[in-house]
């Protein structure tokens, strides 16, 4: 139990953040996280690669979060700005200091990317987190979530397309700013 406690304390925040990014609701995210650790505790013997404990619990948590989202869809319908505000309230604001233009532009870029990630559909958000944060391969995501590999690939493709559209807009703004810098 003590060994599991250490794992719990190490990964709780990350699993919670994973669930929060999918659900955009801290109370439900907490519930999904606790349920994920409970399932992990019960099924610990089925984990083949112990070094991937964190990713495994996060996958369980994300699945739990998707289920909760589907159950609470109607009550979770909130506006885009409200979602971002809610997320910021939990994670706190960053980059408040004065930065030169390049730094400012990077900050603006990252903020736009995160904004695009926040606003992703929960199912796409789940795939993106497991791939880019938890570094799972498409096959591992399919195995952990017990979904066909094709579903994982198509979801990631759609997520990429959605995010690329947002990034193209940002890169355009970024280049125009760089040209202004060069003129000076």
């Amino acid at each position: 139990m003590e060994a599991f406690r250490l794992l719990y304390l190490k990964y709780y925040q990350k699993v919670f953040s994973t669930c929060l990014l999918i659900l955009k609701n801290s109370a439900l995210a907490e519930e999904a996280t606790q349920e994920a650790f409970l399932k992990a505790y019960t099924n610990l013997h089925t984990l083949r690669e112990p070094e991937k404990f964190g990713a495994w619990v996060a996958a369980i948590g994300s699945k739990q979060a998707i289920n909760m989202y589907n159950r609470n869809k109607k009550s979770l319908t909130i506006g885009e700005e409200e979602k971002i505000l809610h997320i910021k309230n939990i994670w706190g604001e960053q980059w408040d200091d004065y930065e030169p233009c390049q730094k400012y532009l990077e900050k603006e870029t990252n903020q736009e990317i995160r904004r695009a990630i926040y606003l992703l559909d929960p199912l796409l958000s789940q795939m993106v987190i497991l791939k880019y944060y938890w570094s799972l391969t498409d096959q591992e995501i399919a195995d952990y979530l017990q979904v066909p590999l094709g579903t994982v690939k198509s979801s990631l493709f759609r997520a990429r397309k959605t995010l690329e559209i947002e990034l193209k807009k940002i890169y355009g703004d970024l280049f125009s700013c760089k040209e202004e810098n060069g003129d000076r």
């Binding site: 304390l9 709780y12 925040q13 953040s17 996280t33 606790q34 706190g92 960053q94 995160r114 990630i117």
Partner: protein, 241 residues
């Protein structure tokens, strides 16, 4: 790694690794409580499943037992049904009588012969050697009621005219049964000891006399109507197997 993947990775790390306002230590206490609740529920479920197992076993046993009880011929294949009686001859010799695996049918059977009646019950029937003239002209009507095998009630009725009749009822008492006979207030009764030593109870219902006694676990009742009291006693004294 292309630019897109690199940007995604960086921003994902920034989002997920940013500390939240939640304290994991506090959450661990809630988690321990949930584990305890789950363990308790699991134990309860195990106990429930164990109980279901026992109930299923008991139900299976009940089904097998019921089937066996409803199909007694299966049991007879393994064990003989044996009925024995001891009776005395006129010379006071003892005779052992046995009846093994009698064929029987449950139900009510009317107008059977004496021989048929003897073969349908598991005890020896008695029949009067003496009958008054008024009743001896026609053969008796014999009926058997056997609703709780092997208990049977045999009724032998002698009736010559509409007025006079004599009925002998014999019933074996192989199963435990308690009964009470209520005697109406205006019906006098007395215990008689006959010449052959048999003790009988007589209920005097004016035109109808009722005699009742029990011998070797067989209960007997004799009803007479418009028949002389002494004639009725003679008939009872002449009953022989």
């Amino acid at each position: 790694m292309n630019k897109f993947d690199e940007l995604m990775k960086q921003n994902m790390q920034a989002i997920i690794d940013t500390p939240t306002l939640i304290n994991p230590e506090e959450k661990w206490q809630d988690f321990e409580r949930r584990i305890a609740e789950k363990d308790a529920a699991l134990k309860k479920k195990k106990r429930f499943l164990q109980r279901i197992k026992w109930l299923a076993a008991a139900a299976a046993l009940l089904v097998v037992t019921t089937y066996a009880l409803l199909n007694p011929q299966v049991v007879i294949g393994f064990k003989d049904e044996l009925y024995q009686w001891v009776k005395q001859t006129q010379n006071n010799d003892s005779i052992f009588t046995e009846r093994r695996n009698p064929q029987y049918q449950e139900g009510q059977f009317d107008d059977v012969t004496l021989e048929e009646a003897k073969s349908m019950v598991v005890f020896n029937l008695v029949y009067p050697e003496y009958l008054p003239e008024v009743l001896s002209a026609t053969p008796p009507a014999i009926s058997i009621v056997s609703l709780e095998y092997p208990v049977s009630t045999v009724t032998i009725s002698f009736q010559q005219s509409e007025e006079a009749f004599l009925t002998i009822t014999q019933r074996n008492q192989l199963i435990e049964k308690n009964s009470n006979t209520f005697v109406p207030e205006n019906v006098p009764f007395e215990e008689l000891t006959l010449q052959n030593g048999l003790k009988v109870i007589l209920l005097d219902r004016k035109s109808i006399l009722e005699f009742r006694w029990t011998e070797k676990n067989i209960s007997y009742r004799v009803f007479t109507a418009n028949l002389d009291y002494r004639e009725a006693i003679k008939v009872i004294e002449s009953l022989k197997e």
